[in-house]
Symmetry: C2
Subunit: 741 residues, 2 copies
């Protein structure tokens, strides 16, 4: 679509939406359709599944619509009909029919029988007890299937367990904790349109010179900063002009913030403090390929591809069990965590046995504080998983670009705010990766003159998702290596959240004035911010009872006269007894290794079997511990924490993060200082980034990545990839350019 | 070759070598052949070029020999005849005829006319003045060609400049600095055999139960620990049993150290303190594929490959000028540094102009201290570049395994100890890499509902070499990204230097006894050690005069009542005035970005153009600053240093590192605290690893990597890869399994 046509399309869509919207806001909550089949088709085929496009496609979408929405590479994209899905594994996510059954069960439950408005904020599998899952083997009958439901009814949050077989509903006590559940997609989309029903708002927009039909607004979680923001579910809305660009993020209507009641959709307050700030120009902001003028001087590269002519070496059994090389794990999409890896096991090369490594691993929470204390910015301290749903924001991946051609795609099946199931297609990809790297090598050198050169290529398996939380894109990779290492990598791309300014050049900025960021383009400031991504890692090294060992690398002085050396380093093992022993801040000049070991199991020569967490580049949060955002994001106060396994402690920022006050975080749990030695323990790792934007991040950011590793340490008796074969020419594919095929 | 045959072959070779050796040690230095052609062929075709195999192949090798030595993939391996090489660029390395000319010139020089023994420790291009190189353009006549020669004559080191055209020889004043030049290959190989001429040594070996023909010895640089080791060139030799395994490194004859005079080859002292320590068993130590019993339960992966059916997108002009996508740089092998990247320039996507980024970058020095202060270990504090020659130890790469199939190979042309040129074939590879990564991406989310999904794959160009410094293998990658980023990555693989012990299980070790490492297998301890790799990075951001800016990320408190936020982070720019301002130790809780900027050039909106160095995982040296090894390796006292450009300051540990006392290191130069603002400056970066070995490192180590980046920061006006196209199916190759081709 040309950019002019696209704008026309947007304008028309917007007008239609507005009409629909005014209908919508007069309904108490999402209407309950009689059958779900139509909705299901809508969402199976569309990358987006919101109230907006569900209205538009209440009937099966036409073929024309489908073409637009289908991934560009149908050859490699097998559309899976999820209607007949059945669970096979105790950890398999809820199926469409199970979600429908939950809705039916709850419909007749007392809570939902009144005429009070309600919404389902989460409908996911209630995982069976860990002990039961550990005992379960393929062929056993499936454990009782239950759903964990978070619902809001008449303004109150409820956590329910629904037994899908018996229909029993148990209401859990959530206590008096602060905060609200993760927003529904409907909360977010309806909030973006709600200010338009306010005449003052519309007047303000027009005064800023923006046509209402060019308006794009974002729902911004407002954190918690004190009493004025308690006891009602609030959100802030800020808007942009999409005139002349699809990249409206670069055209902020600066300083305009609408405080909205998310339940009533009532405008509580409009703050307009940026009237003198021009809206930055649209020129050079569009990033779509169709909008580019291609510079012929720019040299491109010849086609390049990862190829496996005999196909991938992994299988996905029963939809969710991935088996590859010496690895096996359960993989499922999750609306809050994005991707959950469970029961990761690796084969011992000597015994052939599959050995437990990790019971469960996922992105537990994100914390993204912006570093501008002024009116329109101070509250931007996002917690993307608990507020927006990291999985809800994970869009369909682009075949050939988000993942290589040899990738396998997995869909997510989620529940909408009204409880109806929908499919987020191609949400996760799995692929084998060969990057030209070396698994191990050795050449004999001229020193010995022996003619030896042994090299093994490194091939890995990657599980990927990409969450687009409004402007930002987070790429999360779980990479499995045949040597037993798991690399967890987070890539940041997408679009900056920028601030309008009247400056067009840094030479206009008075000496001491703080811009809170970098001038990226005329009238555009990229505001400094941090990203913290906290991972839940329930390590089970050869069994559930493990210990956390800090192996401190400490300088030793030699006694005078004993050695020509004055100093050397020694590795000193300290087993953590309680949680406080395992609250770790990294120190370059007082370094340690961090092991999770099974103290009851030793190698042949007597080392405790273990895995270590190996940090790479990271950043630490430097905010005041009593700053409200840091209280809520206190799980970033350390880089590592270890807690005893507790099934209620999965979300580092708390179960109800939205507007929470920080009394249910990992930091609070850990203060209880429970014993963690030789117990079932959970390791928490926070990966951090300081982001001082630069012009290269405009108008869209080249990916920046960092990672950390879970690495076997005396887990195997010896190098587990000693016996893998080298590449030989006769095994490699014969490839031709596509054009000459 | 089967392992039995291999042993027989070794035994025979050894016997032949011994005979040759006894002839050899009675010659003052390497004999001077009349013509070099024969030697040249030997070395072109053999991965090894040592005195040993030069003797064996004084005539052109037979076809049978050739087959053994040729890389396994001749299809992709174009043998280049270097005899007719001529230089095209002022930075091109010396050619074979130039090296021969240098020998001829020096033969008639007074220094070499006496009958005193002499050896050439380095014969490389003397690079023309930087200003001349910067002015030079293709088509200009070549700048005068000169060689920089380091020679030892009658026990004295000399640095000579030889004008290849005029034949003029200038002898440089080297002052009274301590230390000796990098060992020649002949120094190393002859040292390993020298102890065999000592009857006491042979008796000791036999007493240890090792047959002399199973002996493998290593020449170990002994550092410097005081007066007793001064005023003569010494080396320590330690030995291993290669009975039953090609991996003799796992079978140390523990505690036996021979102190040898490297010039006279005289045994100075034999220290034998490990008589009670058994030699570890050979079982399970061989890593060669031919020696493996393959476990059928172990699952392997299907063939996988990086494919470019239209061929690579880069060209190598005139043997050394690499042009790829928006990059151009000069690449050459170097006997000391391994690989030198010069004149790296990137194309500006707006102006089309090639812009200077880096004048010269290379591995300047390594420092590898082992952490065991006992007699046979305290001195192991290797400086691999200055002592052994990082390039001299870079062996021919294994096509298909060291580099993917689409790789291009470059040979090194070096001079042997007698000044004759030889070819180290396939020493460097260059390849394009697609690893399934994402250059940038953005999807619109349900929040806005816009149907946008734009993703660009990431393709990079890698320059790789692998140096095998005896047991260890260092893989050095320079990876160029189209977004202007350069990633410098070091991978560690190869074989541990291990210590024999009488223990076979940790339960035998008395509580407080320090093993100095990890028990890896019965009787084998992997000793703790560090690796530091220090890079010389002469950044020239849009010109030579640059400044170093530390952008400190500092917590600010908000004045009470001004904001609901109590704290935020601010980026504070501090321009380094002198060297001491730029002696940087990283601090997680007081973080900074480190920019090299051109203070005279700004972007359109007024930011100084620059590059930043972005650390990833690293380690800092913790040894006492007054410990002799740390004095010599004092260049690792900081992670970053910045010095004014000085053509004599290239080697962080000093020009003459061997047995040096540390008075010519980067740390000493930097203490002069010279001005560095708006000058031609050099950035030094040290990448570090603490290595506490684990059983997975036995008998050969899976690669461990770390890296750092040089990244544009306000260098471009905007994202330089905005306009690259996405992948589409029609461009990708059509591949078949080789068997069905």
């Amino acid at each position: 679509m040309e950019s002019r046509n696209f704008l026309r399309f947007l304008a028309i869509s917007l007008s239609v939406s507005l009409v629909l919207f005014f209908t919508w806001v007069h309904l108490p909550y999402a209407p309950q359709p009689n059958t779900t089949t139509d909705l299901l088709y809508c969402s199976t085929n569309s990358p987006w599944c919101t109230s907006k496009n569900r209205f538009q496609s209440i009937n099966k979408p036409s073929t024309a619509d489908n073409i637009l929405e289908k991934p560009p590479n149908p050859k490699h994209h097998k559309v899976h009909n999820h209607e007949s899905d059945t669970p096979h594994h105790p950890l398999d996510p809820l199926t469409i029919s199970e979600i429908n059954r939950v809705r039916t069960i709850l419909k007749s439950h007392a809570l939902f029988k009144s005429s009070s408005p309600f919404a389902f904020h989460s409908v996911v599998l209630e995982e069976p007890d860990k002990t039961l899952v550990l005992q379960w083997k393929k062929g056993d009958s499936l454990l009782p299937r239950k759903a964990a439901v978070v619902a809001r009814v008449a303004g109150k949050s409820h956590v329910l367990t629904v037994d899908i077989t018996t229909g029993e509903v148990a209401v859990q006590e959530t206590g008096s904790r602060s905060g609200y559940p993760t927003m529904t997609i409907e909360d977010m989309t309806s909030s973006t349109w709600a200010p338009l029903s306010n005449a003052d708002f519309n007047r303000t927009i027009i005064q800023r010179g923006v046509d209402l039909q060019d308006l794009a607004c974002l729902p911004i979680s407002l954190g918690w900063f004190g009493e004025s923001e308690e006891n009602r579910r609030l959100i802030k809305v800020q808007c942009y002009s999409m005139e002349g660009t699809a990249n409206f993020y670069m055209r902020p209507i600066e300083g305009l913030t609408v405080l909205l009641d998310m339940d009533s959709k009532e405008v509580v307050e409009i703050s307009d403090k940026g009237r003198d700030i021009p809206i930055p120009k649209a020129a050079n902001t569009d990033y779509r390929y169709s909008a580019q003028k291609i510079n012929p001087e720019m040299m491109f590269v010849n086609p390049i591809s990862i190829e496996q002519p005999k196909g991938p070496s992994f299988t996905v059994e029963d939809e969710h069990l991935v088996k590859w090389a010496n690895w096996e794990f359960h993989l499922k999409p999750d609306p809050r965590a994005g991707v959950i890896i469970s029961r990761a096991k690796v084969r011992d090369p000597d015994s052939g046995e599959m050995r437990n490594v990790m019971y469960k691993g996922f992105t537990s929470e994100l914390f993204v504080p912006y570093m501008d204390p002024t009116d329109a910015w101070y509250f931007k301290t996002y917690m993307d998983a608990g507020e927006y749903g990291f999985g809800l924001q994970a869009m369909p991946l682009d075949p050939l670009n988000d993942c290589p051609r040899n990738a396998y795609y997995m869909d997510g099946v989620f529940a909408a705010g009204d409880g109806t199931p929908y499919v987020r297609s191609d949400m996760v990809c799995v692929f084998e990766r060969y990057a030209g790297d070396i698994g191990w090598r050795h050449s004999e050198s001229p020193i010995t003159g022996m003619e030896i050169r042994e090299v093994r290529p490194k091939v890995t398996l990657v599980v990927r998702m990409a969450a687009s939380v409004a402007n930002y894109d987070y790429i999360v990779d779980w990479e499995f290596q045949t040597d037993g290492l798991i690399r967890i990598k987070v890539g940041l791309s997408g679009i900056l959240m920028v601030k309008g300014t009247s400056y067009v050049n840094t030479n206009q900025v008075p000496g001491q004035q703080n811009l809170y960021g970098t001038l990226l383009s005329e009238n555009v400031i990229g505001v400094i911010h941090d990203h913290y991504i906290t991972f839940y890692l329930d390590m089970d090294i050869d069994g559930s009872d493990n210990s956390f060992v800090e192996v401190n690398i400490k300088k030793q002085k030699t006694p005078p006269g004993e050695s020509p050396r004055r100093s050397y380093l020694k590795a000193i093992r300290n087993v953590a007894k309680t949680e406080k022993d395992a609250q770790i801040q990294f120190k370059l000049y007082d370094p340690s290794e961090f092991h999770v070991v099974n103290p009851m199991k030793r190698t042949r020569v007597g080392n405790p079997v273990g895995y270590k967490v190996v940090p790479a580049g990271t950043a630490a949060s430097l905010l005041d511990h009593d700053d409200p955002p840091q209280k809520r994001g206190a799980f970033t106060n350390n880089q590592i924490w270890v807690t005893p396994y507790n099934r209620s402690e999965q979300w580092a920022g708390g179960l109800f993060v939205y507007q929470s006050q920080g009394e249910d975080t990992l930091a609070v749990w850990s203060e209880r200082d429970r014993p963690i030695e030789n117990r079932d323990i959970v390791l928490w790792y926070t990966l951090g980034f300081h982001h001082v934007p630069c012009q290269e991040d405009f108008p869209i950011m080249p990916t920046v990545s960092s990672s950390f590793d879970l690495k076997p340490v005396n887990f195997f008796e010896s190098n587990p990839i000693l016996r893998i074969p080298p590449n030989v020419e006769k095994d490699l594919p014969v490839c031709k350019p596509a054009a000459s095929a």
